[in-house]
């Protein structure tokens, strides 16, 4: 990202101003220009922001590494005892084939099933979304303007409207209790946005590159595959991640379309951990932090792509 240059001198202005005014302007320059909080106020805001973002995570993390007794102490213990038994309780299921008996036993199967679902959703989005985005960005054909707009508009349709037909149709087809039913349902809410974003992304790549490739003897398809697609890699990364995150974090479809314990997905699995009566808050915190780990790590690593990719789409919106 390009940063603002604060010390960019307003020379042109100064030259035309009376000396007294110009002097005042120069004197004030270090205090920067409007709409920037600076000095102590800015640091106060930044501190608040850090607290606002991190405190909830800290509270959850804190209870996840406390013993059960500590987590149930009144008033709360503010420092952890570094007890990792909650994590080992959840992760021990990796090596166990015994049938699940508690809600915590379902976390690992949930993570495994959701990994399959989310990767499948991301891959289909990438393959079909990228080619369609290219078509809408480059080719002239009836519908090249209207269809992407309709796809953007579809983002305003709440997924609740789709859940009833999906529930009915998938049950008639015998596809409830299958991860693939959820994959299909998630494609419906991710794909239109993917096409829109990819189109925006391809439109930012100069059309001269296509021309040059064609003149050098590429067919349309090889120009797309060999020249444009590699250039669009940041866009592809952001839509792939985006689709993965939506699939991983989905609760609505996952809980309505899957009722079989074998096929449980990650969000319903961690939702099952909230059990005020059992008071197993440590397990709840550890399980949900583990379940959030993949999206958190991916988002941290690729923060830049995510924001830029979304902004590219937003600017056209």
């Amino acid at each position: 990202m390009t940063d603002f240059r604060v010390d960019d001198p307003p020379r042109v202005l100064e030259r035309r101003l009376p000396r007294r005014v110009a002097a005042r302007v120069s004197r004030q320059r270090p205090r920067a220009f409007a709409s920037r909080a600076s000095g102590p106020a800015a640091w106060l805001l930044r501190g608040l922001l850090a607290l606002y973002v991190l405190a909830p995570f800290y509270f959850l993390f804190l209870v996840s590494i406390q013993t059960r007794a500590e987590s149930l102490s009144v008033p709360p213990e503010w420092f952890p005892s570094l007890d990792f038994s909650n994590y080992t309780a959840v992760l021990s299921r990796i090596f166990s084939d015994a049938p699940a008996t508690t809600a915590a036993d379902l976390i690992w199967p949930g993570i495994r099933n959701s990994a399959v679902v989310a990767i499948a959703v991301a891959v289909v989005n990438l393959v079909t979304g990228a080619t369609a985005g290219y078509a809408f960005a480059r080719f002239r054909f009836p519908g090249r303007r209207v269809i992407p707009l309709a796809m953007l508009g579809s983002q305003m349709v709440p997924s609740f409207v789709l859940i009833i037909p999906y529930y009915v149709v998938l049950r008639n087809l015998g596809l409830t209790n299958s991860r693939w039913g959820v994959v299909v349902a998630l494609l419906s809410i991710t794909l239109p946005f993917t096409v829109w974003l990819m189109r925006a992304y391809f439109e930012n790549i100069p059309v001269e590159l296509d021309r040059a490739a064609r003149i050098d003897g590429c067919t349309r398809t090889s120009a797309f595959l060999r020249v444009i697609l590699p250039l669009a890699r940041p866009g592809l990364i952001s839509i792939g991640l985006f689709a993965f995150m939506i699939a991983w974090n989905d609760f609505l479809f996952s809980i309505i379309l899957v009722s079989d314990q074998e096929q449980i997905l990650v969000q319903p699995a961690i939702a099952g951990l909230y059990n005020v009566r059992e008071q197993s808050f440590g397990i709840m915190a550890a399980g949900s932090l583990l379940a959030a780990m993949p999206t958190m790590v991916l988002a941290l690593i690729t923060q830049r792509y995510l924001v830029r990719g979304l902004l590219a789409g937003a600017k056209k919106g």
């Binding site: 302007v25 709409s35 909080a37 606002y52 009833i164 149709v169 974090n249 969000q267 909230y274 959030a292």
Partner: protein, 315 residues
């Protein structure tokens, strides 16, 4: 910058890419490229959307089979239900709280991140974290923080002497709704802040300088220079916040079940209850369609009010 290419490309879109005679016509190739995504979208999105509308006009049995065509009966049943108006009003109030809170907080935070300072990159990275977690995680996190017996918030308040007795946060409907809107806003604000920091960098410095020379104070400069320049992002954030507010579901299901009483029964939760607890699928489809209409109305109103540009008004 990349954006300049867009305009160029748009202008040149009239000029065809060179092509030779042994290639298929351009429109055919185009449809071949677009077909997988287009076909999937029609099959998986447009068809269910139409099917849902069709269902809302029928009486539907427990298994989801369509019975008789009843016209708008399902809508009449829903609209005259005692729960409808309160649920709608609650949803609108809930959304407004989230929208206003998100826009104000994120602009404020974005301004504080606008100047370079040590640690800025780290800040920007951690800001993506709340946005990357699911609604379920939100529910669990805030359910724990506000837990009335063991939760850290009551502990902190007591330790700082702000309360003398533990408060049970989930007993009062209004408080619960506030907690839920705070949770949703927590999810949105850091992400919106990132969008605003991006937008603030496009505000022309010269305009600020000129405004200063004209004697504009900090507030006036924000209102007349910064705000118009980031208006598009404000629009995006409002639409994003509205959508997220309307789609709030997991926290209600996990934490409140629509209660106490029906104090946290938003449209989304009400539709779910009617459809998947009482299995009145036709009415549920009607509720969700009404929800879509309200959402679309808000989005269109936002775009009309904020989307107008000064130059549009002149031409």
């Amino acid at each position: 910058m990349v954006d300049d290419n867009t305009a160029l490309n748009r202008r040149r879109a009239g000029a065809r890419l060179p092509w030779t005679n042994n290639e298929a016509p351009e429109w055919l190739t185009a449809y071949a490229y677009a077909l997988p995504a287009l076909g999937l979208t029609i099959l998986l999105f447009a068809y269910p959307l139409a099917h849902s509308l069709w269902m809302s006009l029928h009486s539907v049995d427990l298994a989801g089979r369509l019975q008789d065509f009843v016209g708008l009966d399902n809508y009449v049943t829903v609209l005259t239900d005692d729960l409808f108006l309160p649920a709608l009003w609650r949803t609108v109030r809930f959304s407004l709280a989230i929208i206003v809170g998100t826009v104000l907080l994120s602009i404020m935070f974005a301004l504080s991140l606008n100047d370079p300072f040590p640690g800025r990159a780290v800040f920007r990275s951690i800001m993506i974290l709340p946005w990357s977690v699911s609604q379920v995680m939100l529910a669990l996190t805030f359910g724990w923080i506000f837990n009335s017996t063991y939760g850290p918030l009551n502990g902190l308040l007591l330790e700082w002497g702000l309360v003398t007795d533990y408060r049970s946060w989930f007993a009062d409907g209004t408080t619960v709704l506030n907690i839920l809107s705070f949770a949703v806003a927590w999810n949105l604000v850091p992400f919106a802040t990132l969008l605003f920091t991006g937008a603030l960098q496009t505000v022309p410095d010269d305009l600020h300088k000129a405004a200063r020379i004209d004697g504009a104070g900090a507030v006036a400069r924000f209102l007349y220079v910064t705000l118009p320049a980031i208006k598009d992002t404000v629009l995006v954030v409002i639409v994003l916040a509205t959508l997220n507010a309307f789609l709030t579901f997991a926290p209600i299901m996990i934490l409140t079940g629509g209660g106490p009483g029906s104090d946290t029964t938003l449209l989304s939760w009400w539709g779910y209850e009617v459809g998947f607890r009482k299995f009145r699928l036709g009415e549920a489809a009607a509720i969700f369609y009404l929800m879509t209409v309200v959402l679309a109305a808000i989005a269109i109103a936002t775009v009309i009010v904020l989307g107008r540009r000064p130059q549009d008004a002149q031409t």
